[in-house]
Amino acid sequence: EADIYQTPRYLVIGTGKKITLECSQTMGHDKMYWYQQDPGMELHLIHYSYGVNSTEKGDLSSESTVSRIRTEHFPLTLESARPSHTSQYLCASTAAGTGKEKLFFGSGTQLSVL
């Protein structure tokens, strides 16, 4: 079973707050991704990383930022949350160079901004 963890599972906060969504994996994977998903909709890639000190923005414009200081840790930060940020955030990882790019996902963080 995949060892990728996201915390918190659910988060309700007020507008303007700074929040950090945590994502950690114990599989030693180099590639990590953050997706945003609204109910019944597709997953939108917002950030990805190919390894330590590597971060890139995805297809969906996002006001969030990420960091990759350690291989196992890929946190996502919102400096000032707004109601438009209400969504499910999914973290995923895969081993680079395997050739078949099998993704492992965390259980997600459901964020509600009031």
């Binding site: 991704y33 997706y35 019944g40 909709m41 597709e42 997953l43 890639l45 990805y48 995805g58 297809d59 499910q88 999914l90 973290c91 995923a92 895969t94 160079g97 050739g99 078949k100 790019e101 099998k102 993704l103 492992f104 996902f105 965390g106 259980s107 997600g108 459901q110």
Partner: protein, 111 residues
């Protein structure tokens, strides 16, 4: 990367076999076909992956014709717990491949 097209939704009944077809007309030689399953409020989970012909595991079978322009995920004897969204992805091996998910197929299994 090859764009995929699959039905938005499907309905079935317990005990039936369900086949979900995905088209990927522009698939390249070094691309694999991968399917994921997603339950509500959870992240997608890998089901099966194949390159050509037929692949079978404990969960599903994947049929890929010789031209590889489509693939069919087959779920034998579905139960209510198979109600989920199923995503078909074309995966390019190595390099700077970015996994892209479409809307998937929402499968509802009825009693």
């Amino acid at each position: 990367l090859a764009k995929t097209t699959q039905p938005i939704s499907m309905d079935s009944y317990e005990g039936q076999e369900v086949n979900i077809t995905c088209s990927h007309n522009n698939i390249a030689t070094n691309d694999y076909i991968t399917w994921y399953q997603q339950f509500p409020s959870q992240g997608p989970r890998f089901i099966i992956q194949g390159y050509k012909t037929k692949v079978t595991n404990e969960v599903a079978s994947l049929f890929i014709p010789a031209d590889r322009k489509s693939s069919t995920l087959s779920l034998p004897r579905v139960s209510l717990s198979d109600t989920a969204v199923y995503y078909c992805l074309v995966v390019r091996t190595g390099g700077s491949y970015i996994p892209t998910f479409g809307r998937g197929t929402s499968l509802i299994v009825h009693p």
